[in-house]
Amino acid sequence: MPTQRLFERIDSIELQQVSKKYGSRYAVESLDLTIEGGELLILIGPSGSGKTTTLRMINRMIGPDTGSIRINGQDVMQLDPVRLRRNMGYVIQNIGLFPHMTIGENVGLVPKLEGWDEKRTNARVRHLLDFVSLPPERFIKRYPRQLSGGQQQRVGLARALVMDPPLLLMDEPFGALDPILRTQLQEEFLEIKKEIGRTIVFITHDIEEAFRLGDRIAIMDNARLVQVGAPEDLIFDPVNELVADIVDTKRKFKHMDTLNVKDLMTPLDAKYILNGGVDACDAVEIMKDREIEIGIVFEKGMLAGKVEMVNLLKCEDDRPFLRDIAKPMKVFALRDSVATALSEMKRSGEYVAMVMDGDTVGGMLVSDEVLLKLI
């Protein structure tokens, strides 16, 4: 009997005042956390800080003592655990592939239990193995023990994706891999993440991994949530020593004061440049073609400002020209300090700024990329 879909997409997962005690010790204490639909939220923190416990309360493998966990407003404790879990993908360290089943059987187990016919299951399994770069002809009949650690990890991911779940729970999925393989899988996972566009809760011990993959990072310590925010929030505004320690603010940014915008800017890619004389509707088409979300508008060789795709979509009424609707953007000089530039950008909530070399364009300053270059 197929399990009914509980949710097609995740709007939010709200943990409110969630606590879990083992004996007299809290594993998780008064946790408040909202996970937004579509984001990849990282849980990071010292061993024993309650990450796994938090994750496993989301799929009801552990019931909270107090507090509530709501997915799209529905309390998970009101839902049938088996059904709830069938609606999520779950990946753990050391994979947990079943040794007595072939790769194909491992990935196809839940579809089979869901009553899919063999043909459909098989097609889905093959598709997913392809997706995680394991040629199905070669791998589908093998047993887990005949695969390398990295290959097994890929199978684990394929298995979690098999029912196309809107939510993925991942507990140190790359934890057992050696650093090179790990980086490679992270790269691949970033690609996959773009394609699948679903909500992901991801535990790691590795802050680099957290920065590379996470939209937001939640730091746990001693059963409590210490801070949650985008990577730059944690780097620039760590709430305490522990957070600073984890994100390693000091080591990474001790040179910040000596660095100039010039050192960390990116060259302006021609694809971002739009002409001020283009109307908004045409601009939308151009931006779709160029796969950009933001455009830099120039009018007669002079910077006019920036436009964002989201603001252009309602262009039909009056088809304005870009030069009239471009928003002013921050401009820095080559010799400005990066620290100052970043904090100005953060204050006004902008993530790109122009860098000018006198009258000519020097490049762009993209806050995310600056961080990635620093770490």
Partner: protein, 204 residues
């Protein structure tokens, strides 16, 4: 020839007794092993009973059954079962509990129901040990079934006991040799079956 017919009849009776007992033992032992998973108390009672009875001589087991159940096919069946059950229960239980707990946990995590975990995870893992237990019990049952002729179960043992009464060497051998051949055949057939049924993940 009368002797051939006698042997064939006795062999048939013997086979029926052995396989009936074996089947009954499997039907009792396997569910009991599964049930033991859910009750630590049941598990420890069953396992310590299993270990104790293992040490009791078959002849004594047969004797103890008589005052309660009398003689004949059914008491013989019960007596054999008392011994044949144990290897199956023990091996099945050990097989079921030897599954890596992380696997069970993971199966829970992807939303397998309790029954599906038994069916798709525990059982396939326990199966090789369980089969070994059944093979052992089959040979044990064949051996004790010779002895139960003494309490009227019929079978090849009956010819042996007739031979013992008058010390008739020929009769002794006519009973004993088919019983030995049967034992070897059971062993062989189970070995072949075992090879054939070995799951792929162990073979490869």
């Amino acid at each position: 020839m009368a002797a051939t017919e006698m042997i064939l009849n006795a062999t048939w009776e013997h086979i029926v007794l052995v396989y009936t007992t074996l089947l009954a033992s499997i039907l009792v032992a396997v569910p009991l092993a599964f049930a033991s998973l859910y009750s630590q108390r049941l598990a420890s009672v069953v396992m310590s009973f299993a270990n104790l009875v293992q040490a009791v001589p078959s002849f004594a087991v047969i004797a103890i059954v008589v005052p309660f159940l009398g003689i004949g096919f059914v008491p013989a069946l019960i007596a054999i079962m008392l011994r044949a059950l144990l290897p199956i229960i023990r091996n099945t239980y050990i097989g079921l509990t030897n599954v890596d707990p992380a696997q069970i946990d993971y199966a829970n995590g992807i939303g397998l129901s309790e029954w599906q975990i038994q069916r798709y995870i525990r059982f396939p893992n326990a199966y090789p040990a369980m089969f070994a237990g059944i093979k052992f019990s089959a040979i044990l049952a064949n051996s004790i079934a010779v002895l139960t002729a003494f309490i009227g179960s019929g079978g090849l043992g009956e010819i042996i006991f007739q031979g013992l009464i008058g010390y008739n060497t020929e009769k002794l051998l006519l009973g004993a040799i088919p019983a030995i051949v049967l034992a070897l055949l059971i062993d062989l057939s189970f070995t072949l079956l075992e090879k054939k049924l070995t799951p792929g993940y162990i073979k490869q």
